[in-house]
Symmetry: D2
Subunit: 233 residues, 4 copies
């Protein structure tokens, strides 16, 4: 196994189920990992398990994101890998949606991705080295009925990621977008016994996040979709 070209990963939205698997796999491949989430309390088990730092940060707040990166600078831990996981959604018929919740869906799912990427890339550009990974969903590429806000937020994140992939790749920064096309297995969500592997195993997803970091720059992927073998698409 070739050593990774990266040293230090920041995982934002680390309360999401996927984050633990990614964090552990990255640590296992020699990356220092730092976590950030709105509530650090939720991260306690993971922090203990892998022995990493955790920061409280609302990724949709510009000042908090700026402070997070300043703190990492201070700790000499500016990441050369950033994973952006946060998402939020409200759903229902268009006519019943609460504008405040719609705005929040857009802010958490997309605007926060901009805030985090901007701070991260400011540190990566001088070294012409780094990777920024965004977690998308089925809604990133298909606008489902009764879920307009999430489509708005996830399409927005994808458009943003595609734009900065084009801008930053020639500067040595690998931007990738993952379309997670199915439900993710978790403590709260198990698959039926007669439908094995019908939910995405977060450990399985993490393998593809790692793979993207292992890609030599002559063959970079900007988007990869993942779904269970039995998922309709």
């Amino acid at each position: 196994m070739a050593e990774l070209a990266y040293k230090s990963a920041l995982i934002v939205g680390a309360g999401q189920g996927l984050s633990g698997s990614v964090a552990k796999l990255f640590v296992g491949h020699g990356l220092k990992v730092t976590l950030a989430a709105r509530s650090v309390d939720d991260l306690a088990p993971l922090v203990e398990e892998i022995g990493c730092d955790a920061f409280a940060c609302d990724a949709s707040d510009a000042a908090q994101v700026a402070k997070l990166f300043a703190d990492l600078d201070g700790a000499g831990a500016a990441p050369d890998v950033v994973v952006y996981n946060p998402s939020y959604r409200t759903r229902g018929p268009l006519v019943d949606l609460d504008p405040v919740e719609v705005q929040r869906t857009l802010t958490v799912s997309a605007f926060g991705g901009f805030l985090v990427a901007q701070q991260a890339v400011r540190r990566m550009l001088p070294k012409r080295h780094g990777a920024v990974l965004f977690t998308g969903a089925s809604a990133s590429v298909k606008g489902y009925p009764l879920s307009a806000p999430f489509a708005m937020g996830k399409f927005a994140l994808r458009g943003f990621a595609q734009s900065i992939a084009r801008e930053l790749a020639p500067q040595g920064i690998h931007v990738a977008h993952f379309v997670i096309d199915g439900g993710i297995r978790s403590a709260r969500r198990a698959e039926p016994a007669d439908k094995p592997d019908s939910l995405l195993d977060p450990d399985a997803i993490a393998l593809s996040y790692l793979h993207v970091l292992q890609q030599p720059r002559s063959a970079w992927t900007w988007e990869i979709e993942l779904r269970p073998w039995v998922e309709k698409f």
Copy 2:
């Protein structure tokens, strides 16, 4: 020419170059037209030319959008066609973008589309009749480098439109998204003499907006792209 099934159109973002052409063509086909824009002063020439009402409304402000539709209700002019044109953009390298401007790009380009569509559809649903048309751009389907905020906003609007198209079509409401893939000819922007028709003529664009309103419900389009014959794509 078959008569249109619609009676009354509201054009939001009516200060945009495209809006005058759409308004005039709609009026010519028997639609009553109402305009809305942040500044009604800009609309004066058009209002005078076609003799329509105009309302001041910042489409990214929920209260103003609600008031606009309440006013239209009061005037007995609830529209069965709505065109959403507003867009705003900031651009530049990711690291130089102003978060306030990025937020505004997202709000005007996408969130306002939600606000307007929600109010409009509340009036259309009981009649199971109406049309909502969204103006997109090249950036709706391709994230260009150095233009991440606009990609975010326009992808978001497209995801939103696609979601509500799926939700509302079976309820008799036609939602369509137009990908305007090129520059639009205007008083401020003329094409080179040796490149005739290399910018989109707003009158030509308007023909396709009208066509979508003419489509019988057995053959509806949800997305149509338009570009000059010489445009690279």
Copy 3:
């Protein structure tokens, strides 16, 4: 109604249900129409109704396609509009498909489109004027299970159409591809009484074919999809 910029249309695959509606609408807008199909017998009612010429031609055979266009040249009827409708399909599980039928699906659905377009464009290019319209299907953009050959053929036709749209638009030739995303109403296929307009009315489809011919060159569409209001997509 502005007069069309075109004079003479050739409809290939004229035995398809869509063709009659397109032919009649085109004639009604002043176009001379010529039909071509493998069997002219099938065309007799249409020929009688609109009083046009009909030619026997297997569009997947290079020699027959060349002869068709030579005959049209001889009759002074080289078309400036060509509509390519033929399609053929075999379906079933991959392991049960007959290679001969798969080959035929590819040949009729895609290769024939090349043969016809090539002959047509040879006549259009010197005048830098013409339009070539291709009829696609849901399978043009989504590969459905148990229907691999049709996906192969229709994706192929779309790729071909997109390539020549890019090549020929700047030379004044408008190439467009129609994604017919649903079943088409016909003598043999009626919709359930409780699901009105759940099949595409061929007359409704024809309106969009006509619209594309009416587009000024500053705002051309290369692809348009059409589906019934109640169709899932």
Copy 4:
């Protein structure tokens, strides 16, 4: 490194530059590899280097493909992984294309993929286990001007692959399509000294082919695109 779930790979179109890298990487991960190409002579160096079997087979000929798989059956070497690499192209202005060459482009690039996949899947289905990997190109997703035949062939292969991915995934067979979006480095094609890694290194591509084989079935990819960091897209 987890052991692969696969045992034996057949690489078709093994004369293509990519095949050597894939073959070597697969062998290094414990797969038995068999090569097939129109001319086995071209394979001699690779056969010698990795000590594998090689078969002559024109993948666009149904009888030869059937014989290849019968021979593999006889040798007890029915593959549970198949990689389809062959492609062929003719290019130029539409009006100058030779129909025979266009037909051949379609046959080699797409129809051969069907022939090979059908034979392979007949052997995989009873075990509900296997993987079929298709090599695509930029032309798989974008129809470039002056290259209509290749767009036709590569779109066709993609549509085919997508259809059988949907059909076969729930039966335990992983179908994946690789969009190789750039030139591949080879003995005949080197990159400029001032543009390092501006061509895809076949060894780098091979890593992603291997990765797809390593994916657990709860998180399968059906399509992955790869391009050099400096490639425009």
